[in-house]
Amino acid sequence: MQIREYVIRRLLILPLILIGTSLIVFTLGRVGGNPIAIYLEHEMTPEEVAQLEDRYGLNDSLPEQYVAWLGGVLRGDLGFSGVSAAPVMDVLPRRLAATLELSIAAAIVAISMGIGLGTFAGARRDRLPDHLTRVFAISGAATPIFWFAIVMLIIFWVYLGWFPVGRSDATIFASIPHPTGVYTIDAVLAGSWTAFRDAIWHLVLPAVTLGYGATAIITRMMRSSLAEELNEDYVDAARAKGLPERLVLRRHARRNALIPTVTVIGLGFGFLLQGSVVVEIIFIWPGLGRWMADAVLRGDQATIMAYVLFTSILFLIVNLIVDILYAYLDRRVVLGG
């Protein structure tokens, strides 16, 4: 009951946060760049430029322009994407689905590896497996993703040829319908084993690359919080009851160690979104990040605004889930605010 109220309250606040975010981005865009830069060409006469400015309402005041943009968003019109030469709303769902697929795959890698490795290391504190895990985790946190992605690409694509780049094999991709836009799910829906294998095969390398940094963060947190929990009295009390070590670890220590780790997972997701831009560029992944990078380079403001809006929504939803998980794990937490 309490959790449901909290979710509703948070969802009601969500639009307000989004308006705030869009205001900041809108202002930065207008201050730092020219909204019609992407349509300008060297041969244009000043009259033609003025005509363009007039057409996009750039002669109105900034608040008027913002309201006009917001009105469009509410009607489901996010403007025209210059880089894709199509309305934003025509391109966005496909791009969003591709990014979601990649970042969820990366999150699965990061969460399962992070919690698994962290538990493994935390339960063997200061012994060899722990030291090795820490080396792995520290390198993960310290390696810049653009460099790591290129190295992964060179090793696994160029030399070993184990994994492909891109998102799919074009013919296989075209052979199934795409109702959701998420390739793996579409393949399952279509019942095509070939397409599913193709999807996974393309997904592994970018997902692991993208997930590495977050894996490192989660591993470190899980390791240290588990090692700390194992010193608590209730762990000894659980042992004194005659529980085997497996249950002491799983039911008692790990559950409490997950509490701080879950918080870090929420932050790690922001890390993933950020990294997805680089990974999508390097692995030729047709997602939001790549789209946004093109848009930034060419000054396509409608696309940038759409990107910011949707990544904000993603981030906020993930953190809402994290808060709920947190309250579920730690019963002392009273949700609010």
Binding site: D233, Y234, D236, A238, G242, R255
Partner: protein, 405 residues
């Protein structure tokens, strides 16, 4: 070096629940080897309450935890000695004891919480904050009373239910419990566990066990939490209950009630108790016998009467002089001079010699032996030793009967 009980050897073993002999627990630290417990010996007789008293850091908790092998190794190490334990069956049929330091881990798991249970100092920390009380108490039954839980099935419980009753059900099985045909059986198992948990809680005078079962530890008071711990500890009728300062973290008003409860349940369950405390007045109220510990060793052992009215070891004498009572006038309390010695790589000596008013040269060179022959009961002090055995002149031994220097 065995602590002598006032009976002959044959009868003695029959009446004992546990016997600690020359227990040594060391910790390997960077600075050296810490001799936290350094040759501790005492017996616990069937049905008695033995108080293990000493100041913080004297090794009493380490001794207690050694019974259940709860010392983390490394850095800890059981460096010597043994803890013999006679489970009920062994006591009744004159069977062999087990050495708690040597039994295989699987046997140890069966002893923990079942034959020997433990109550911890701070119930707020000894309960898992993330699990409801029901789950925590239920674990004891799942772990040690599987057969009892499956009683209603008459030995024909399906495999997944049997596995669930001993906490071995996997994720898939737990999923299957949510659907027929296992659903009703799994519910029946849960109801049986609820029953046992409820009974165990009710026994500790918790009036609304159902409500408490659904609560999380942070929703309960300290006294209530300690009741839950006691219920959990006594759930399986253990032969020995180790209470490690169970009332230290509680309000004074609650302390008395918890103490009373432990004593009552001890009689009802016929459980022996090893009661660890630094609080002499408290130990005096509930213990039959007392072992005084100082710096990793036993100073003396005696009945409560003997220790309080006729303390033999200079440390005990000093300790009792520091306890306030109505006989003392304001400002008359005596503190023991000096501080507890470093226990890292200690040389042979009486650990108390630096603070002892009677100490002579030999106290700084030779380990005293816990010997009951001269003093009439086990006292580890050269003042009671025989000069012939030590090979020194009688004059070199401390004279306890003179007034302190």
């Amino acid at each position: 070096m065995t602590a002598a009980a006032p009976a002959t050897a044959g009868e003695k073993t029959a009446a004992l629940v546990a016997s600690v002999e020359d227990l040594r627990v060391h910790f390997e630290l960077k600075a050296g080897v810490l001799h936290a417990v350094d040759g501790v010996s005492f017996d616990i007789a069937d049905g008695e309450t033995l108080g293990l008293v000493g100041e913080t850091g004297c090794g009493k908790s380490v001794t207690a935890r050694s019974f259940l092998r709860l010392i983390p190794t490394p850095p800890g190490r059981y460096a010597g000695g043994r803890i013999r334990f006679w489970p009920k069956e062994a006591r009744q049929s004159g069977g062999e004891p087990v050495d708690l330091l040597q039994v295989p881990t699987s046997d140890m798991l069966d002893i923990r919480g079942n034959r020997i249970a433990m109550i911890f100092q701070d119930p707020g920390k000894a309960l898992n904050p993330a699990l409801p009380i029901r789950e925590q108490v239920a674990e004891v039954f799942y772990q040690h009373r599987t057969e009892d839980l499956l009683e209603a099935w008459n030995g024909r419980a399906p495999r997944p239910i049997r596995r669930a009753a001993s906490q071995r059900a996997g994720k898939l099985e737990r999923l299957a419990f949510k659907f027929p045909p296992l659903r009703s059986q799994s519910k029946r198992l849960k109801r049986r566990v609820d029953e046992l948990v409820g009974d165990a809680l009710a026994e500790t005078q918790i009036h609304n066990p159902r409500k408490i079962m659904a609560s999380y530890p942070h929703e309960l008071s300290g006294g209530m939490k300690q009741r839950v711990m006691i219920a959990q500890a006594l759930a399986c009728n253990p032969d020995l209950l180790i209470a490690d300062e169970p009332t230290t973290a509680l309000d004074v008003t609650i302390q008395a009630r918890i103490l009373e409860l432990i004593r009552e349940l001890q009689h009802a369950h016929q459980t022996s108790v090893l009661y660890i405390s630094h609080d002499l007045s408290l130990v005096r109220r509930i213990c039959d016998r007392i072992a005084v510990m100082y710096a990793g060793r036993i100073a003396e052992i005696g009945t409560t009467q003997q220790v309080f009215h006729d303390p033999r070891h200079p440390y005990t004498q000093g300790l009792l002089a520091a306890v306030p009572s109505f006989a003392h006038r304001r400002g008359e309390l005596a503190a023991i001079e000096g501080t507890v010695p470093e226990l890292i790589d200690p040389d042979p000596s009486c650990r108390f010699h630096t603070r002892c008013a009677f100490a002579t040269d030999i106290c700084g060179r030779v380990d005293p032996v816990l010997d009951g022959r001269v003093a009439g009961r086990p006292v580890a002090c050269h003042g009671y030793a025989s000069p012939e055995e030590l090979g020194v002149a009688a004059a070199e031994l401390p004279h306890l009967d003179r007034s302190p220097a």
